[in-house]
């Protein structure tokens, strides 16, 4: 993890990412398209591991959507949503492994947990993974920006 404090981000970027994620996973489940799950594990992994510039939908938001919107009312520390995304990656990776192992119900259960939490975060800003990050960060004395 980087030592210096990262640049604050537009909080609507992760919200957009969460909204697309929730819709994609629910549509994937409704239509029984299991490939959606590993694909989104990879999509979330790119953003969580390498930063928002590498997350496809974070990039789409930053380059296409954000220039058409008013500037954000407030900026946010990028680390909590990144941490939350990495929890999403863990769940979706476990779901993909379950599919591969034939445990389809377990795989969808894990994916739907991610879909519900992402939907809640996108709609209301309650980000369970971010709260977990704050809990851990405060114990370690990390200074937040934003």
């Amino acid at each position: 993890m980087a030592r210096s404090a990262p640049r604050p981000i537009d909080p609507r970027g992760p919200r957009f990412n969460q909204a697309v994620l929730a819709i994609a996973l629910l549509a994937g489940f409704a239509l029984d398209q299991r490939w959606v799950v590993p694909v989104w594990a990879a999509v979330l992994f790119l953003g969580a591991a390498f930063g928002p510039a590498y997350g496809p939908f974070l990039r789409l938001y930053a380059e296409v959507i954000r220039p058409r919107l008013r500037p954000p009312a407030q900026l946010e520390d990028p680390r909590p949503p990144r941490f939350a995304a990495s929890i999403g990656v863990a769940f979706l990776a476990a779901a993909s492994i379950s599919f591969a192992a034939g445990a389809v119900a377990v795989g969808w259960a894990l994916a739907l947990i991610v879909a519900a939490l992402a939907g809640l975060a996108a709609l209301s800003g309650i980000c369970v993974g971010c709260e977990l990050y704050l809990f851990v960060a405060r114990r370690r004395g990390v200074e937040l920006v934003g």
């Binding site: 409704a30 239509l31 029984d32 939907g119 809640l120 209301s124 309650i126 405060r138 934003g146």
Partner: protein, 129 residues
């Protein structure tokens, strides 16, 4: 489409919608509580500055430091104190603190003049002031 799958999807969507509506409603109710309805703050918290801002924080509050900085910048002649709501649950309950930061502004007698919730609440308050 499989009706069972569809009903699971509908269930998840409904739960998420209801959850976020309940959350937003409780936040709105919290933000609209009027300052006058609250009893005066204990004088031990109040300094002899013209007014004292009391910030209710929690150990894991992400935006409390930014709110404190903003208050000190906007009101350099007024006092700013922090109260950890987890260490003073009775006080937090009396002022119906549901979210950190919840900020009270009090005069020298401890009378609550304003109640502001969250960083966006403070920004609205500063824009109106």
């Amino acid at each position: 489409m499989d009706p069972l799958r569809l009903s699971v999807v509908v269930l998840v969507v409904v739960l998420v919608l209801v959850g976020s509506l309940v959350y937003q409603r409780s936040r709105r109710i919290d933000e609209r509580r009027s300052a006058e309805a609250f009893p005066p703050l204990p004088l031990g918290l109040i300094s002899d500055a013209a007014a004292t801002w009391v910030i209710f924080t929690t150990p894991y509050c992400a935006s409390c430091d930014a709110v404190e900085r903003e208050l000190r910048r906007a009101f350099p002649s007024e006092a700013v104190v922090r109260v950890d709501a987890t260490e003073h649950p009775g006080l937090a309950e009396r002022y119906q603190v549901r979210r950190a930061p919840t900020v009270l502004r009090a005069d020298r007698a401890g009378r609550v003049l304003a109640r502001v919730v969250g960083p966006e609440g403070l920004r609205r308050h500063l824009a109106l002031a």
